[in-house]
Point group: C2
Chain length 279, copies 2
DNA sequence: AATGAAGTCCCAATATATGGGATTTCCAAA
DNA sequence: TTTGGAAATCCCATATATTGGGACTTCATT
């Protein structure tokens, strides 16, 4: 009698193409259906669906159910509801999100180092981690140049699209690299976008050097130098990068920056208990 | 061993000192217990409780229940779990939080205006809204001065403690003002903190002028000028402020800033559909 | 005034969450 | 290394919280 039409497990508003590396699948945690559905509602609203019929058809739940969950979320200020306009993300979510960012251990350890690096290089410095199969931006210190590099804390990007992404997966094997290449962002038609073989070749070189570059592969004129950060276990937990426009990023400067950024990454790693290349 | 961490300001699902203005109470929305409990877990973690026994005693749920909910939240990346350390806020929360901030209509409408105001005044400009009984900071543009005003997007403060708070409640009646005075932050022992009567008197003057000040009432040397922002309905939906240290905030300058900030608030209001003082 | 779409409310049926307790894991002291 | 104990995880019968069909209420538009 209860409908069992679609989605038993996930109802991801963004249709995550590859959820594999996280869990063996087939094991959607049980005993929290209502919570999970509530989160689905939250995420659908984040994806821009603001009306009840839209949510219920998108999520495969009845209007009644969505309404009940959304009402609870509004009551707790996780969502706003404006009669004629629909639902939107609420202030409590904002509050918790900023707290999450502030409390992120890597971010705390990195904060001063990032500022210092930005001062020294005059360029935009960024910190990111891997979340799922994507790069999640944790922090950013804008440089002193006349332009602004457009990216925002909390944004996500495909691993291939950025120097940070490459730095984050430097330790993985070629099979994984291949998988990430398959996940590259669709709209990316940059003339300098590498073929699969070129990309793998560069990754090998980056892995050997412990530094990754991005050479206008995604965005024309935009280059960056990124280095992984390791914690006490030696695993890569984040990455720092310096980005700038091509005119400031000639090959020699990228070399210089490599050492500079590497020093920063090392300092941050040490704050996290990393003991250096040898242990 | 129920640890009793300071559990400072935030997120008490039940201990909220004044939940009155939102709903008559006694009407916790029904049919979403599991979702609500899940959010309780989220908020308890945000308040710094990271272990299962702590959470279960704090929230009055069995270990089993907390574990089940927390596992679901970890699975969705709303929480992190590190074996020896416990739970912490997860990356998805950060992502949604930043998106919530970015999508907040007032913030979008205000963004450029805030930057312009910060350039003109050289001082720190902030944007806030009322959330529940507290002031929630929505945006901040740092000034060019040598010092930095410490406050963070996503933070909350008591209405009395800030110029922004006062600006946000300028339209309310004296009964409400009194209630807010009762909610002032406990630790505030500033020598310049006003008595109840002084505070009400000032509020009357601010309401008449349409501008609110903060004269080192909370933090020594810190002064600010704040003006409410109105939307199409004429209601106060947010407030802008310029803050600086006392040496830059002599009476004449505060007068000049009043007009400047008022102009900014007006421009933002117009972007939200406000039609000016008369309608 | 009529129409229709979105949002809200109610209630019986049952799928779903609950918590007691057993079991495993892991650290720290002996 | 062994042992003790605390935290985390798992299991399952029970009862309760959630579900969804359907009816009702707004409210904007025709």
């Amino acid at each position: 009698m209860p409908k069992r039409p679609p989605a038993s497990s996930a109802a991801h508003p963004d249709a995550d193409p590859a959820r594999s590396p996280s869990r063996p699948a087939g094991a959607p945690p049980q005993g929290a259906q209502t919570l999970l559905r509530g989160l689905d509602v939250l995420e659908a609203v984040a994806a821009g669906i603001g009306d009840l019929p839209g949510l219920s058809s998108r999520l495969g739940m009845t209007r009644t159910t969505v309404h009940r969950l959304a009402t609870a979320l509004v009551d707790r200020r996780y969502l706003n509801f404006v009669p004629r306009q629909g639902y939107s993300l609420g202030p409590r979510l904002m509050e918790l999100g900023f707290r999450a960012q502030r409390d992120m251990p890597v971010r705390q350890a990195a904060s001063q180092h990032l500022k210092r690096l930005a001062e020294r290089t005059q360029d935009t410095v960024q910190l990111a981690m891997l979340d799922g199969d994507e790069v999640l931006y944790l922090d950013k210190v804008s440089g002193q140049r006349l332009f602004e590099i457009r990216s925002t804390i909390g944004d996500r990007h495909a691993v291939c699209s950025t120097g940070l992404g490459k730095a984050l997966v430097l330790d993985m094997d070629e099979a994984r690299w291949n998988a990430f290449f398959d996940l590259r962002e669709p709209g990316n038609a940059s003339p300098l976008a590498p073929t699969r073989e070129e990309w793998l070749g560069r990754m090998r070189a980056y892995a050997a050097a412990g530094v990754a570059f991005d050479l206008e592969e995604t965005e024309a004129q935009l280059r960056c130098v990124a280095v992984p950060i390791r914690d006490a276990s030696g695993a890569i937990v984040a990455a720092v990068s310096v980005s700038s426009f091509a005119q400031y990023m000639q090959p020699e400067r990228m070399q210089e920056l490599s050492s500079e950024v590497r020093r920063t990454a090392q300092a941050i790693g040490e704050a996290l208990g990393w003991r250096g290349p040898r242990s």
